[in-house]
């Protein structure tokens, strides 16, 4: 049988059965009741979708909520930014100068490229309207009339899915002028990247949305005062917006109680690497790591846990002994010396060489440095070349200190966080797995058998 191109390629598209529809979430809010086919507006409404938007606009029979009330609820919920920084969302929303007379913008950061992170793709693909509703609520709360969702270029199918959902939402009256007969109007559009990790940095993203190279801007001024086209702009991650409808429907206190104090709600963790069931798991904040590992089927059969990068590739690695004792929330992981970041949990078993692992990450940061700041542009190259020669058995004893010194000298000396993101994995590896690096220098080879 001869197939056309679309038929050939469709054989390899994921159904997300293993990564999203595995029934192994705990109390899911964003990924609840999804099956890969029920993404459209009618099915979203059947799940209670757009009820939160109706509620704030007073279109559910109630009085509606004021902008201040919406922001107060989000503050009360303890929702913190799901993109990586963990900044309190309600506080960020309160920074928007609502009375500013000119145009203001709302931007969703769906440029999900932090290695290990694959959650926003599934939200956009399987529940796009929850992002649209969350953005509409945010726009109402901050008096914003135009928004953009900037989507990672590599997930074009999800970009197209989101565009289709936008069309549905406009046709159903959830976007556009005078939404549901109210005096609230909100226009929302989708834009895409095309292969630049740096555009996940919020000001680089704004530059890209303006049709420029994605080079981060100096802050201050922050986007709240000088953002897209120089106008006040609020930027949140996809998962952050997706959390909002539940909060409005159920209240800030209820959301906070799903997690733990200062770490409200559920979080989608993307588990990759050496586990039996890699995928996305939406679980309450503060769930023990051991539980998350169990949901993911445990470490690969026959292997022991060696290390975990708990929050995307930029987060410092933690050894198994520390990981097995921590809970998955911002404060617990920070206390252990790493960060929750985007919730990307990269699991490594006892067959893994830490030098080889760092070599690949260091190459990535060198490749993705935008080149604007000298310490990052040059320093990421230094880091990669040194880790690379260590891996190849050509390292020198002085490399250990030099590596740490270069990493230290990048940190805090660049416009954006990519420099720190390149340096932190290096320092984390040296802190917890120094002996492996020294072994490479002394014995010119790995401590573990050949990398598989």
């Amino acid at each position: 049988m001869t197939m056309n191109l679309e038929q050939v390629l469709s054989q390899f598209h994921t159904t997300a059965a293993e990564t999203c529809f595995h029934g192994r979430h705990i109390g899911p809010q964003i990924l609840a009741d999804l099956n890969g086919k029920n993404w459209s507006v009618n099915e979203y409404e059947a799940r209670g979708g757009y009820q939160a938007l109706r509620k704030i606009l007073g279109k559910d029979g109630g009085e509606g909520l004021t902008q201040d009330q919406v922001i107060a609820i989000v503050k009360e919920s303890g929702l913190r930014g799901r993109g990586g920084a963990g900044f309190p969302t309600g506080l960020k929303w309160s920074f928007m100068p609502r009375q500013f007379p000119g145009q203001k913008y709302l931007v969703c950061n769906s440029d999900e490229g932090e290695p290990g992170t694959c959650k926003d793709r599934e939200i956009l693909q399987h529940n796009p309207h929850i992002v649209i509703e969350g953005m509409a609520i945010a726009a109402y709360a901050m008096g914003i009339s135009v928004g953009y969702n900037y989507i990672h270029g590599e997930i074009f199918e999800s970009y197209e899915r989101f565009e289709a959902a936008l069309e549905e939402a406009r046709a159903a009256g959830f976007l556009g002028d005078n939404i549901m007969g109210s005096n609230f109007s909100f226009q929302l559009h989708a834009a895409h990247g095309f292969g630049a990790y740096i555009c996940g940095e919020e000001t680089a993203l704004l530059e890209s949305l303006e049709g420029k190279k994605g080079q981060p801007r100096f802050k201050p001024p922050f986007p709240a005062s000088y953002g897209l086209y120089g106008k006040p702009t609020t930027i949140n991650n996809t998962e952050t917006f997706a959390a909002v409808p539940w909060i409005i429907r159920n209240g800030g206190q209820a959301y906070l109680e799903c997690g733990k104090p200062n770490n409200g709600g559920t979080k989608i963790f993307s588990i990759s690497g050496d586990v039996e069931r890699p995928g996305n798991y939406e679980i309450p904040m503060g769930t023990p790591f051991t539980k998350l590992l169990e949901l993911a089927g445990g470490v690969r059969a026959g292997r022991q846990l060696k290390a975990v990068i708990p929050g995307g590739s930029s987060a410092p690695v933690l050894p198994a002994s520390i990981m097995m004792d921590i809970t998955m929330d911002y404060d617990s992981i920070a206390k252990a010396g790493s960060m929750l970041g985007s919730g990307a949990v990269i699991v490594m078993d006892d067959s893994r060489c830490m030098v080889k692992s760092l070599q690949r990450l260091s190459y990535f940061y060198m490749h993705e440095s935008c080149g604007q700041c000298t310490p990052c542009r040059e320093g990421t190259g230094w880091l990669w070349r040194m880790v690379d020669r260590l891996e190849r058995g050509e390292g020198r004893p002085s490399d250990m200190d030099l590596l740490d010194n270069v990493a230290e000298n990048i940190m805090g000396r660049t416009i954006c966080a990519l420099g720190d993101a390149a340096a932190m994995p290096v320092r984390g590896m040296l802190k917890h797995f120094r002996a492996e690096f020294e072994h490479h220098i002394t014995h010119k080879t790995c401590m573990v058998p050949a990398y598989v």
């Binding site: 926003d120 895409h192 990759s272 690497g273």
Partner: protein, 171 residues
């Protein structure tokens, strides 16, 4: 490309212009440059790569300098500034994928096609490139075909099936 065509912008088809204008409509009238990312991706989808002529045509349509378009096409990794094979295959080799045989998948694709990493097959059918994180880490190994098609769980058997299938595609 003949020498005289380099002096003129390629006329864009009405269908292409319509796609450009759909993107332009998303942005304020005085911010046409915002559509440059999408216009470049559209041209690449239709022509396989972004030529200097195409950059000039986009610049003219968006009322910006050709260099402003070139700055963008050279900054973002997915734009092809040279012709590539009919099917461009990018295999993710970043750490999460590497832990699940991403590097092996890249090497297998190259071996099967008889090309080096970055190379194009002699028949012009395939170009193979490594890729950075595509945001599908739990589906590893993953690869992209012509920028827009993500292929998941690409074992050697599936790579065979993909390549053989692409070779046999009915036009």
């Amino acid at each position: 490309m003949s020498s005289d065509t380099t002096l003129h912008s390629t006329p864009l088809s009405a269908a292409t212009i319509a796609r450009f204008d759909r993107e332009l409509a998303k942005y304020p009238d005085d911010q046409k440059q915002s559509a440059v990312m999408a216009c470049l991706a559209i041209v690449q989808q239709e022509q396989g790569f972004v030529s200097a002529d195409s950059e000039r045509a986009i610049a003219a349509h968006l009322d910006i300098a050709p260099m402003a378009v070139h700055e963008v096409s050279t900054f973002y990794n997915m734009y092809n500034l040279q012709p590539v094979g009919k099917y461009k295959i990018n295999v993710c080799t970043n750490l999460p994928c590497q832990l699940r045989h991403g590097q092996g998948a890249l090497e297998y694709v190259c071996k099967k096609l008889g090309v080096e990493v970055g190379g194009t097959t002699a028949d012009g059918m395939f170009t193979v490139q490594p890729g950075e994180c595509m945001g599908a880490c739990a589906d590893a190994p993953v690869l992209l075909v012509n920028d827009r098609n993500m292929c998941s769980y690409m074992s050697h058997e599936k790579i065979d099936q993909l390549i053989d299938g692409l070779r046999a595609v009915k036009e």
